[in-house]
Symmetry: C2
Subunit: 456 residues, 2 copies
Amino acid sequence: MTPLQRDLSALLGDSALRLDEAALEYLHDSTEMQGLRGHADAVVAPADSVCVQALVRWCYAREVAIVPRGGGTGFAAGAVPFGGVVCSLERLDRVRSFDPELWRMHVDAGVTTGRVQRLARESGLYYPPDPGAVEQSQIGGNIACNAGGPHSFKYGVTREWVTGLEAVVAEGELIRWGGAVRKDVAGYDLRSLLVGSEGTLGVVTGAWLRLIPAQEASLPVAAAYAGLGEGVRALGRVLGSGLVPAALEFFDAGCVAASMAAFPGGLPEGAAFLVLAEADGDRAAVARLAGELEEALGQEALTFRRFEGAQAQRELWRWRNGVSFAVAARRGGKMSEDVAVPFDRLERAVAGTLEIGRRHGLEACSWGHAGDGNLHATFMIDARSEADVKRALAAHEEVFALALELGGTVSGEHGLGWVKRAQFERQFSPLEAEIQRKLKAVFDPKGLFNPGKKVG
Amino acid sequence: MTPLQRDLSALLGDSALRLDEAALEYLHDSTEMQGLRGHADAVVAPADSVCVQALVRWCYAREVAIVPRGGGTGFAAGAVPFGGVVCSLERLDRVRSFDPELWRMHVDAGVTTGRVQRLARESGLYYPPDPGAVEQSQIGGNIACNAGGPHSFKYGVTREWVTGLEAVVAEGELIRWGGAVRKDVAGYDLRSLLVGSEGTLGVVTGAWLRLIPAQEASLPVAAAYAGLGEGVRALGRVLGSGLVPAALEFFDAGCVAASMAAFPGGLPEGAAFLVLAEADGDRAAVARLAGELEEALGQEALTFRRFEGAQAQRELWRWRNGVSFAVAARRGGKMSEDVAVPFDRLERAVAGTLEIGRRHGLEACSWGHAGDGNLHATFMIDARSEADVKRALAAHEEVFALALELGGTVSGEHGLGWVKRAQFERQFSPLEAEIQRKLKAVFDPKGLFNPGKKVG
């Protein structure tokens, strides 16, 4: 043990330290696909909020960086440390209270998203945010990134489901914002400011979540098209007809090619664009909406299919969750961004991603949350090839520029983290950037919370 | 004209100035019911965002306070000036763009809420926030207060319908946050920070609004009970049964007594608590939900009634919007607060308001958004009686203490403004208050935006 590790062991207890092999797990996240790993002076998992306070107080007094970490499933290296102490929230895993009849749950930050979803479901309720990897990802990490997912189209992102937050801020103080109350305009909305702040303002240790009664039924449908134009027109008909599916996803040609072998029931030859939508509601509403979706999506489609029954639906969502891996498997790795644009610019963003890939000699594709204009613009690479990574990074720069040119954002749901920190200056005017840096300084005058992330 | 008025006339044009009689209209808001009026050195209505920038630049250079003003329908004197220049947004009344097929609208801050609702409705869409006085209240003011209303229970508050903001900040710069894009986690959530900031961080000049397709049908229902206990149990059965009405309102005994003469169809003798709920969705879903609401609300009810047909519904909502006036009419005035508590504490908050009234010799009542635990705790007064106002102010102090003791907030939807500025220190710990004051200073280093409001 180093002197630092010994001090932290004395402060937080032996069981809080992660050493040697065990510590290595905390040095990367999903950006590992592009070969990114960090390094830390120590990795600790405090037992509770009080221990997090002790840790922050200790680090703040000694000017040691604190890198909060949830499930480590991020795509922006927001939780990857570059020096300092990793503070894993994994032991803050208590459900503090759950009142099904009041549609609310109070949890530690380290409770997994999957557990919240499951507890809700078992009581006839629903927690809508559904980022990938729900069994690993934690509520605290979801809050740090303001996580979305397919069902954000109808139900909104994490921010809309958090009524209160508990966080440790400088120099080790605990603040609470909101709580079980559903409406609150007494102060500035620091709850929303902390949501999406990527651990750069403090360490979220607990959250009050809002739930809603589960829908009686849901029915996913999928339609395949010969090309981008046909697919985007179909998506436009869904919105233009005033239909509100719970999810409205798209998968472009490269994505379909990479994943079609695993698509339940297969896809027709010539399929070069796929739309997945989900109807939910009571049984009658689902039947009606599914019919309306068939009308809107069916025109110009090669096929249209309803996924009836639990088995078929499980298979479909399993395929959906595997798309990212299928794309990565093409060349052994991928680099993916999550830009978002206004819906009417989606076609240009998808086509633009392909053009950018061609210019850089990279196979490209995109997929994502069509209804929210949120696309995962992806370049397939060999992660061990420095040349590939370099070309993909150059391509990404153009994707970001394109998203902004189209009135969009460099990040729809993953955050800036470490890998996109340079985009901060690109998206914001000097004044807008300065305001945000000053806001960070209000919470973190010494710049010790997740340094180098988000605001660069 | 004073020298200040002459300078502003030269800067913004003659037509921007409001003088003499015309200016008096800008010195009060709905707190006039308690006799509150302010004073201003000048009242101006700039023609557009560029003029607002010029005004802010001019004021900032001369250390003159700027009091942004929307429709003047607030209940917290947030727009009531106490010196400085009133900046009315009434001339910023352009709908900048409206894309019905994309479910979005881009408006100037001075567009009225009613106009947004109407435009949406005419295109088969829906803008859910529905504070009272929609024909006067403006989107900018709704944003300043994060306005709610009956339908926030299902659809959320103003913050959830604003995807982008344009604002003039110190020292006259225009910033834009978000836009037509529906998801954005690139920066800190300054959009949410400005929503609910009550004009203390800058002047909101424009907003991008999200809309949704209108529901096919809606059906309000009402149930009357003999007492608070019966009514609250009925509300609990709605939530406990997993029903999601669009609105879930309550009216206690004093409120029923004050307004029952105007209740469409009348109310039975002995009615001392009223619940109003609204089912919405497609026709089949509405019929089903109305039946389920009848089951949940009908138990222990004196009466249960469905309001079928446009005429009956208009009458019901007209009655609903008139409740506040009916209560004020009892003694010629009222003082009302909009505390919110977790739903399971609603009964204690309603009963507690009556007890507090008794202790202070004031007739009391409450009503509001039951599903959100948001109650308008009200004391009926003669607004011309200083003694009445004084007693009501003392009673309010106890209402605030009660709300916080019950895990709630001193303001669910009206904001702190001027009348509740002293509650800021009560609700927040010294550190939480300090963080917020520092956040204000980031935006407004000279403290000129709506001074004395919100953060005290």
